[in-house]
Symmetry: D3
């Protein structure tokens, strides 16, 4: 079976040595969904004009979480970040879509940063709305695409 | 429309005042799933004997993340924690189930701690296995149940 | 000269022992100002309708920073928080006022949490607007009032 | 009205993309003041010989806070730092001046790091002395100068 | 063989449930040593008068680290702290002794907080002096005593 | 007496300016020991098959702590990391040896990262086993070797 890079030949966890990898431009885009009662979705969507902007709080939480990725994911390399952007859209009457894009010029990729941004943005939406709708669900969350690095570009199968 | 507790009457975000809420025992249980290629699932399941234990790394990441919840979710109250436990099971050849339970004796609930533990454990599984399977998806993540507090017990609709 | 409580009799810094202090309700309110070019102030004030809400970003930054106070101020006790609220008002054509109130039921006060919330909210306003106005100044920042604890209530001299 | 770089064309907050900016040497210097009762200032000034060195605690707090800037200011890029220095002087019988200089070789500037160092150093002075003087005020805090980057050198108007 | 409390009956790591443990006063004292070249020790000892106070920097680092214990030690409960004190003494011409005492009124003990304070203070001494003496060694570090909790008082064998 | 680089000519602490130092490949290796009752050591050594893997928890704690070094050691520069690895071996019936190696391509060395990884791994071993053996001792911890940088290679005297 294929070995996982985060373990050495004896199965011990490690932070993989990226010392000899070239510095390249890298981007990653991830998406996630929050499924909620249509009234909850309506409440989120009214952010710009109504009492309190759920999505702007979630956006900031996601951006700030991207900066904490290496603190959260045990074997992630600590990275700088060139950019993080998070967009929200309403894809059905009971569904919010979250898309995060992160970029960096470095030796390792930013997939985990984009996925972490989406996940914490979704959890923040849950936190902001749980007083009216505890049955919300989060997911699916997945990587949509990445560019840069030795393995080059990758896109999720559609 | 119902107002969200995290905003005041003018729509400004705030950390809700829980000063006069009673201190009670509280628990919360959340679940989440990681869908992956069956070979990836086999690799995860072999943790005890094969080269490296993906799930034990994810379990620790989830427990440690539960302790960071108030740092990640902007309007969460900073809380102690009495316990955090995370269990994994394989619910189909291509699916890992993650269940986290957190408990606390305090003025506010631990729903976000349980959901955060599940989310970061799932992201860590993704990170550990992404070198062999980038197409994994995370979710649905949801609250299964909570006890304690003014609103009492709640269970997810089945 | 009066000794400072954060040093022992030999002048060594310490986290003061509060083990025998009673747990009481405590609140603290702090204020701060940002002085800026009137056009910058106009830009901040237009947050609800124009392109991007500077004050809502600053509000969240201040609330989140209050939770990090013990991590920032070396000899502060780590505390929970019952509430944090931050309000903004425009007190002259070139001046933004920031008021933060924090509360807690504990052995020590929340003055530093309120002051930290104001300070980081002000720094965030600076960061958000510095591309158009680097000459903004922050201050004066001061404690307005506190309640609870052995020393009881205190209000800033007017 | 000029757009703020931290928002996109729809007014959504973002971490600005600096991926294509050149890496240059950058420095920033910020200043701030703490106004206190003359006896409190005398107590601070006696640090080298008397019981406990307020300013050395504040200096370390400021340096450590500079390293946390991206964790505190929501849309700041995570940065390394080449140096941070903080100097104190007594500019009148009731006034302490704090000057922080930070430098870095990177794609974005270190203004926020210098301002954060000054702010947290000032808050720490407040915390260390608040048992004898709660009426201290902090400010004005401002950027004195910066060098490097596309916009080049900037100095505060005198 | 005795089971370790941090693992469940299947060997999975967990944060032990302390929900039903009584809240009691607890203290812990730990010690550690740094062995260095006598000239390095002389340099440390001259802190009060010479150029820079190594021990005061180390003391603050140790106190601040005690507050981060639950962030560093994966299965530690997040705790408040009632006090932390660190004392230094020179026990031979080539040896610095560090003693840290932490206290708390809670459901779990503060042994790890005291040990973490000693360890990080020692590492900071190393960092401050490594430009003149890289061969310093740290240790032995051990728990000297604890009080409070179900297991009551314990003292290290002499 | 030689001046310490972490202080300026007036004895004020500072983060040393490394702006003009060249970026080079750097590695550091540190070691540490935990002395415990032979039954405790037997319990640690059984990790792969028995109930719970103490060393794998400690390994992750050490790796994650290496990433927090600049947050723990006041005057350390914030650094990325190219790799961190931690190995354990049993060097006598009552002794565990911990060796950590960190590497980086940067302006400053990674000695403190390697030493911090060893220290926190050792503290985690203590935490995991303290329910059966409070008398464990940690140390000696020391730097074994470093490469890169102006001062070049260094090895501990044997």
């Amino acid at each position: 079976m294929t070995d996982l890079t985060h373990f050495d030949s004896e199965g011990h966890s490690r932070m993989v040595n990226v010392g000899h990898k070239p510095v390249t431009e890298r981007t990653a885009t991830a998406e996630g969904f929050v499924t909620a009662h249509p009234e909850t979705i309506t409440r989120m969507a009214g952010g710009g004009t109504a009492k309190g902007n759920v999505l702007e709080v979630a956006r900031l939480a996601g951006i700030m979480a991207a900066k904490k990725t290496a603190d959260l994911i045990p074997l992630c390399h600590p990275l700088g970040l060139d950019s993080v952007e998070i967009e929200f859209s309403f894809t059905s009457p009971d569904e919010l879509r979250i898309v995060a894009t992160a970029s960096l010029t470095a030796k390792t990729g930013v997939e985990m940063e984009a996925l972490t941004a989406v996940s914490i943005a979704a959890l923040t939406v849950y936190d902001m709305c749980k007083s009216i709708d505890k049955a919300m669900t989060i997911g699916p969350i997945r990587l949509l695409s990445k560019t840069g690095g030795k393995s080059g570009s990758w896109s999720a199968p559609s």
